[in-house]
Symmetry: C2
Subunit: 345 residues, 2 copies
DNA sequence: TTTATTTACGAAACCGGTTGCGTGTTATAA
DNA sequence: TTATAACACGCAACCGGTTTCGTAAATAAA
């Protein structure tokens, strides 16, 4: 059904009785074409609804003006906001964005990388998946010259642009806040031991505990499965055992928020009286939850913007990315889920 | 920085001492090439890390294996979930997706359409923007043979594939539910008079009022600006005037939820005692809000899947889309924001 | 053994725009 | 007036696959 009689440069050339090359140069406003000819070409192009063919120009230029954006999830306040930040920048600079969702599966991430080596995109923005056990596929693509920038979830030992938040400090602040609110046994709920950003949050978290002389006998960092049932099971067992139950918890990712709230309701654990909760989250509805959720709010939009700017300039300058890390600090938004009752706002 | 010595079909041909055409055919597993040659080619291709060039193949085939997805917003439970539905289907069928965000601006929507006529995408999935005062740009693109499917927000008078929910019935059900809960003065908060899906929701809403003999003297459908300040202003004036204040409200889009909750809190209007609220929303956190929000939940993921399936098969079969409308019914999720106190679950 | 087919591959045109080089024409300088 | 340069444009190769057509060699049929 695609229109057969699309107009090409040849059509215009034939109509005006000039050569292909002249038309091409006229459309590029080349100095070696007279104004008169340029005007005629422009007029004819307009009249015939001429649109330059993306494949033909890309074949020569080796540029697609497209950027791949790879995320673990899209139904997520952080990632959707980051994508929006990316889009505002790329759109201004004339780039298109291709979205790929890994669902946190390394297998899918690898498959996506296979698709990206055909010249379809000029660069890659990626937040790696949770079970990032290997990063060979990323290195391979970079080896053939593909510019790549990590945002949020980065591979530590790959040297390229990275845009992240101050994870150590955020983890530290989260724990410190809970301790200041009187918590004696604070847990950290994570979803992966592999992600460096989560490792750093944990380090900051532990540091705060250490500085406050909170030395637990056992573990206080728990890896929670993102499988819904397993997740509920693990958290339920932690919160229902009096010997284990914390009085404060730092949640490393937004998607664990719902389970915590649900389980607390079911177990009749009152937030914040019995358990103070703080979550790394960009949820716009945090203040409307019951109780309103204290969050470490990442500057998702800005992270997206910065990452996009980095990749765009790397592409434009045709230069490889230095191992530079841009840090966009997070903000602590204190709400009722972490406050003792008489501090309620 | 892009690797200079990428391997092409020519490289392989030279290495094996055969012609380009033979290599090409071998890679396509053509019947006119011997098994021996095919194996040699495959081996060489593998060894040299050959990747077919996207532009070169696209130039001939006029296929990009890419689909444009145009949405008004991405930081939105409905649209992000719909995109996820789209992705699951397109990924299986080997299509890439290009995301475009209009921010509900017709000007941006038009600009995006200009970009899509260069063969970069094989089809378009779109949920049009709010101030859809004109749809010429859409018709133009379709006129040159671009397959296009609307999802959720469609242009009524353009004949092509559409995937929507049962808007009339949903509007009806929402109003009916509030009336059953004892509401006497029910309002409908909309954001656009132009969107046909909102018109239908309003029609259903009005129908329910009519059937229940609720005939307001004045208007009970209000267009709320999405500008934050104007929005707060309008709603505040409606809810603070005793002569105007409704006891039930149907909210047509998710983004008005936060303002309503905030204003009610500020004006000390209790939900649901003073005002019962029901919202068209896919918010996963609806049950955690205070109070839990009654929603008309659209099957966003399924709508995305269906739309993607439609466009993919239209592209594959190279046939124009019939004016078929797929309706994915919504679900009423009753929660506390619309229940009289002694009905609380 | 001769003729008819099939098999396997090469040559070259093609997709549509880009670009370096060559050349005839006009304008400027000597 | 002649030499020189600037101008404006055509020609053709090129980007990297795809595809049609032609043909020599191998196989099958007569």
């Amino acid at each position: 059904m695609i229109s057969q009689n699309h107009t090409t440069i040849k059509t215009i050339a034939a109509k005006l009785g000039i050569s292909k090359g002249t038309v091409s140069k006229a459309l590029q406003d080349s100095h070696e074409i007279s104004i008169a000819t340029k005007n005629k070409v422009l007029e004819a192009a307009n009249e015939l609804h001429y649109k330059p063919n993306h494949f033909a120009s890309g074949l020569k230029s080796r540029k697609s003006k497209a950027i791949a954006v790879i995320v673990p999830e899209i139904v997520d306040s952080f990632f959707s906001l980051a994508i929006k930040g990316i889009e505002t920048v790329t759109q201004k600079k004339g780039y298109h964005i291709n979205i790929y969702i890994t669902n946190d599966l390394i297998s899918k991430e690898k498959e996506i990388f296979k698709l990206l080596s055909d010249g379809r995109v000029d660069g890659v923005l990626i937040s790696i998946c949770r079970d990032a056990t290997c990063s060979d596929h990323i290195k391979e693509l970079m080896d053939i010259g593909m510019p790549l920038v990590f945002f949020d979830r980065a591979v530590e030992d790959i040297e390229t642009g990275k845009v992240v938040t101050d994870d150590f400090k955020s983890g530290y602040n989260a724990a410190q806040h809970l301790i200041e609110q009187g918590c004696k046994r604070v847990y950290f709920f994570s979803i992966s031991e592999n992600l460096s950003i989560l490792q750093k949050r944990v380090e900051g978290f532990k540091r705060a505990l250490f500085e406050n002389d909170i030395i637990e006998a056992g573990n206080n960092v728990y890896q929670i499965s993102t499988d819904e049932n397993k997740c509920l099971e693990t958290i339920t067992s932690l919160l229902s055992d009096p010997d284990l139950r914390p009085d404060g918890v730092v949640i490393s990712v937004e998607l664990l928020t719902i389970p915590i709230y649900i389980i607390c309701k079911k177990l009749n654990i009152s937030i914040p009286e019995d358990l103070k909760v703080i979550c790394f989250s960009n949820l716009r509805y945090a203040s409307l939850l019951s109780p309103p959720l204290t969050t470490i709010t990442q500057p998702a939009f800005e992270i997206g913007e910065q990452a996009a700017s980095l990749i765009c300039s790397a592409i434009a300058n045709n230069q490889s990315l230095k191992n530079e890390k841009i840090i966009c600090p997070s903000r602590l938004d204190v709400r009722n889920s972490s406050l003792v009752s008489d501090n309620w706002v």
